[in-house]
């Protein structure tokens, strides 16, 4: 597969390490969230057949974490964003 890195352009997916569903960006706050909140965050997945937002790490590249939107049936890649930008857009900060 080829991932079109927002900064570096097309790169072989082999340079990346896959983590999983981009919902992992939405980590609850440990001081307020319950075990069940963390259970749902850590363990439950939509696992769609179709468009899937997922986290890839450019380990053999510039070490950017990316959010790749990819069709899990065709492997077509629909969008690639820097995970840091997505995280900030989702309200994450410090």
């Amino acid at each position: 597969m080829i991932i079109h890195h927002p900064i570096l352009g097309p790169r072989d997916a082999q340079e990346f390490v896959y983590l999983g569903d981009a919902s992992l960006i939405g980590r609850p706050d440990g001081l307020t969230a319950s075990i069940e909140d963390f259970h749902n965050y850590t363990y439950l997945r939509d696992n769609p057949a179709g468009a899937h937002r997922e986290l890839w790490y450019h380990e053999q590249g510039d070490r950017s974490w990316l959010v790749v939107t990819r069709n899990t049936v065709t492997h077509e890649i629909l969008q690639v964003e820097l995970a840091r930008d997505v995280a900030r857009a989702e309200g994450r900060s410090k």
Binding site: I2, V17, R27, G30, L55, E59, H75, A87
Partner: protein, 981 residues
């Protein structure tokens, strides 16, 4: 032996003669021959045996679709089983032997199977061999396994090497026939980066096998001209002997280049084959079409071939397969073969044309509305039986029969993404569906355009479209005039009869087998394939799948497309495993990582051990030491008595800077680091989000906004990845910068009562306990050279870790040993390191197994609940916080002389060795020379409340059952006075 069947013409170099052997007999051929063409030229039709019935087999094709003519090419370690003689390029000195026969090809004992064919029907083995159960492995299966298989490997290591590589292009063109050459000319002339790959050693495809002209030249001459022009273009890469084996995602194709297979052996330093990963913007498949047979009784004899292949042997290789040749066809292309052969002086005894009407061939016995009912000839064809239109039958002597059931476009690669081709009635064949693989287009015969004119035109058109989509403009093409005969075919799949008519001639799948599958309700195409093994042979059914489908369609009364189609899978043709493995073999399987003291340790005769990619000193034998234990015991005792040195460079080091570095560490570690004083170290426990311990190590605060974190050797990479995730994704606004410095610093542990005395001799600063207390850290100098010092201990002794820039590591170990001479300093390896950490009760790899919590390790208090950190919440789940859960304990044998084994399980005294009595297991074991007996760590249920209990460590694998006592995991200096000394 003379080349009795060699006729005039062809694209072989008759000025040179090549000598080769088949089954020990010598033959002659010419450059340009394949093994098959040369054997046929020498009058050899019998080249193999079929899989199940061991029926005689000769080639049916002249290309890579060949299911029958499989041989063992070469001998010794280079022996290559299942090699298709039809694509094996002839070279001087070639040797090959037939396979899957015993004792000889002409007399094969297992041909007895053919006599019992009525018992060995499709799937018969599913219905028997069940009694008694134990007989399967002992009796039936060994017989079956010996009989099965095709060619053999020698079990000798492949002596050749293989390369891999990466290529980039705008347009990849797969197949260099008329369509491919036309596409390549259009694309190449436009300046696009083009790769043109063809599996053959000569480009031109069918043009090399035909007699018709392009413009005013022979087809092959036009192809030569096109190739000449293309090779003059710097933006075009021509790759012959290169098979594009698979289409992968996003324009990536895998291709194998047979660099040296046409040589007796590769040139020194050169690979046998190279596997290329091709990155393409666009790809064009111009892979041509493959002819298919018509099934009739005993249609599998050597001498019975695809008509177009018979034509190819005559036109390209100057070979007449038989002295009397007949043709059986349901379409006009069969007639072309008859014409070509006759014009070459081959005696065409009859053309059996299943169609009524149509053009009548002049000067040839053209039997229209007729069928071939059967054939005769023991090891090769001698005659055929024909049923005339009027129903009369006639036996016609023939030593070669060309069969044409029509042509199947080579859609294979278009279905590599599991999409299905579509049926076209007008050519009675499947063609690629549209847009099945992104940016792949198909032209020429592969797309169902079966005329040469059509191939040239569509090749050009498809190339133009590809160029346009890349924003490139094509110059006008000047395509030569070429034959443009329409496809005239009246589908005819098999001739009805009561005996076996072969469909898959390698696996011996006959019309009868398909009927049986239908009778037993294995009617879906996948059931048909799996039950009869149709299309499972080495050719993936290139010549048999559609025929099999058609027969099943006839039985179910459904149309062929409704019956289904088979999805071809990569690779297009079988690829040597060596090529896919590349250079990753033997010592080069994975790279080595060498420590800064490696050179010195090698000089000292150290024994090394693999730790991931690292090689670390395991122990360092001294003269007179006979066992590894001698060395390890000495290293441990000397360290505890005076001082020992160990290269600990392999531990991961991560530089963490930024105004939020402390806050960041508080998030990623279970314990707190923001409160750590500058110039101090602290041990840290890192959890995964699921609350399990991920990693541990010490972190030093080198400045207000500057920390150096160490990880375990095993987790250096994953911890760094995780920290980047936390930094970029979870807390994107924290001011934190990370970089690994693992390799930048050569780091040595100096441990033992005399560690300070030794180090004071080499460092420039005062490191007295007052100046550099326990858990101190700082930048110092060594002979003026910048260095780092950390007062941390894994051994439990007074210990430091000192780091210098890596290029000085070699000098540093020598300097430390020199300075340590007066203290009898030793270097200790990973074994002694393990002994001392277990004596001290530190956890390591065997305890950090990914399923252990801080609580299990007795470090529960380290998980701060006052702050949010990764894993803090889920570490509180009920199943992980049970009071009677696993706890880290120390273990010692009650009898000091007794031996223990890591991996033994803990059982109470007197209970049965059953899972329900399993109380835990022994994780790490060492012999403690200090205590004079084995000591161990382990995880024990409710362990912290069982100190002092006597129980058993059982190792049922070795049948040992040893009485042990559960003790504290801290075997020495539990109060830690030594390290604070």
């Amino acid at each position: 032996m003379s080349q009795s069947n060699r006729i005039s013409g062809g694209l072989i170099d008759r000025s040179q003669t090549l000598r080769f052997h088949f089954d020990g007999l010598p033959y002659l051929g010419h450059p340009g021959d394949t093994l098959a063409s040369a054997l046929l030229a020498n009058g050899v039709r019998l080249m193999g045996r079929s899989f199940k019935y061991h029926r005689p087999r000769g080639p049916i094709s002249a290309g890579s679709e060949e299911p029958n003519a499989l041989v063992e090419l070469r001998s010794g370690a280079r022996q290559e089983p299942n090699t298709r003689a039809t694509v094996a390029e002839l070279f001087d000195g070639l040797t090959a032997q037939s396979q899957n026969r015993w004792p000889s090809l002409k007399f094969d004992a297992l041909a007895i199977n053919d006599r019992f064919n009525s018992f060995l029907t499709a799937g018969f083995y599913y219905k028997t061999f069940m009694w008694p159960a134990s007989f399967w492995e002992k009796v039936y299966e060994p017989i079956i396994r010996r009989a099965a298989g095709l060619g053999s490997l020698t079990k000798l290591e492949d002596p050749d090497t293989y390369d891999k590589g990466f290529l980039h292009c705008d347009i990849l063109i797969i197949g260099a026939g008329p369509a491919g050459l036309s596409a390549a000319l259009t694309a190449g002339r436009s300046g696009a980066r083009v790769i043109l790959a063809d599996e053959d050693f000569r480009m031109g495809g069918r043009l090399n096998a035909e007699t018709f002209e392009l413009g005013d030249q022979a087809g092959s001459a036009w192809a030569d001209g096109a190739v000449a022009e293309l090779s003059s273009l710097p933006n075009v890469r021509l790759m012959t002997r290169t098979t594009v084996a698979g289409a992968f995602d996003h324009g990536i194709y895998g291709a194998v280049e047979r660099v040296s297979d046409h040589l007796i052996e590769p040139a020194p330093g050169k690979p046998r084959q190279t596997f290329w990963r091709i990155y393409s913007q666009r790809a064009i498949l111009t892979g041509g079409a493959t002819e298919r047979p018509i099934a009739f009784e005993n249609n599998d004899r050597p001498g019975i071939m695809l008509a177009g292949s018979l034509r190819a042997y005559a036109n390209r290789w100057g070979v007449a397969v038989g002295d009397k040749t007949a043709i059986f066809t349901n379409n006009d292309d069969g007639l072309r073969t008859a014409r070509d052969l006759q014009s070459k002086g081959v005696d065409v005894v009859a053309v059996i044309d299943s169609r009524e009407g149509g053009e009548l061939l002049p000067g040839i016995r053209h039997l229209r509305g007729a069928e071939v009912m059967g054939s005769a000839g023991r090891l090769g064809l001698s005659s055929i039986t024909v049923r005339h239109a009027d129903g009369k039958t006639e036996v016609i002597k023939a030593t070669a029969l060309g069969v044409s059931g029509g042509w199947n476009p080579n859609v294979n690669i278009t279905s590599h993404h599991r999409s299905r081709p579509i049926w076209r009635d007008d050519i009675a064949a499947f063609v690629p569906g549209s847009g099945e693989i992104a940016n792949l287009s198909v032209a020429g015969a592969a797309a169902g355009t079966l005329s040469t004119h059509g191939a040239l035109v569509t090749g050009d058109e498809v190339a133009r479209a590809a160029l346009a989509s890349l924003g490139l403009t094509a110059t006008a093409a000047n395509l030569p005039k070429a034959e443009d005969a329409p496809v005239r075919i009246t589908p005819m799949w098999y001739v009805k009869g009561s005996n076996r008519a072969w469909i898959d001639s390698q696996n011996d799948v006959t019309v009868k087998d398909i009927k049986l599958a239908h009778q037993e309700n294995f009617t879906s195409v996948e059931h048909l394939k799996r039950y009869t093994t149709l299309g499972m042979a080495t050719d993936q059914g290139k010549t048999s799948n559609v025929l099999g489908l058609a027969v099943m369609a006839g039985l179910t009364g459904k149309s062929i497309p409704d019956t289904g189609t088979t999805v071809y899978r990569p690779p297009y043709t079988p690829v040597a495993l060596g090529a896919l493995g590349g250079r990753g073999r033997g010592q080069e399987f994975k790279p080595f990582r060498l420590t800064p003291s490696h050179k010195w340790a090698q000089e000292q005769g150290a024994v090394f051990v693999e730790v991931g990619y690292w090689l670390r000193t395991q122990w360092l034998p001294k003269a007179g030491e006979t066992t590894w234990r001698d060395s390890v015991d000495r290293e441990v005792l000397a360290t505890r008595k005076s001082v020992g040195i160990c290269d600990v460079t392999t531990l991961g080091k991560i530089d963490i800077q930024g105004t939020d570095a402390g806050a960041f560490l508080d998030k990623v570690y279970a314990n707190t680091f923001s409160t750590l004083a500058v110039g101090k170290c602290r041990y840290g426990l890192m959890l995964r989000e699921d609350g399990m311990v991920f990693d541990d190590g010490t972190t030093a605060r080198m400045g207000q906004n500057e920390y150096v974190t160490t990880t375990t050797t095993a987790n250096a990479v994953t911890v760094f990845r995780h920290l980047e995730f936390c930094r970029q994704v979870l807390w994107p606004d924290m001011d934190v910068q990370l970089i690994s410095t693992t390799e930048a610093w050569a780091q040595f542990s100096v441990a033992g009562p005399n560690a300070r005395k030794l180090l004071q001799k080499v460092v420039d600063q005062d490191i007295s306990d007052a100046a550099f207390p326990y858990m101190g850290a700082g930048n110092i100098t060594v002979g003026g050279l910048r260095a780092r010092l950390f007062r941390i201990s894994f051994s439990g002794e007074l210990a430091y870790e000192i780091a210098v820039p890596t290029r000085y590591g070699d000098a540093m170990i020598r300097k430390l040993m020199e300075a340590g001479a007066e203290f009898d300093a030793v270097v200790y390896g990973t074994e002694a390191l393990g002994v001392m950490r277990i004596e001290k009760g530190h956890v390591a790899g065997n305890e950090l197994n990914g399923t252990s919590t801080a609580l299990n390790m007795g470090l529960g208090k380290m998980v701060s609940r006052k702050k949010d950190s990764i894993g803090m919440v889920l570490s509180q789940r009920e199943g992980m916080t049970r009071d009677d859960g696993l706890r880290l304990v120390g273990v010692k044998p009650v009898n000091p002389a007794a031996e223990l084994k890591a991996g033994s399980h803990f059982l109470k005294t007197g209970v049965a060795a059953k899972a329900e009595n399993d109380d835990g297991w022994l994780t790490s074991l060492v012999y403690s020379p200090h205590l004079g007996h084995y000591i161990a760590l382990g995880y024990l249920k409710d362990g912290s409340n069982r100190i002092g209990e006597k129980m058993r460590a059982v190792n049922l694998l070795a049948g040992t059952d040893t009485e042990i006592e559960i003790v504290s995991p801290h075997f020495i200096d539990p109060e830690g006075e030594r390290l604070r000394a």
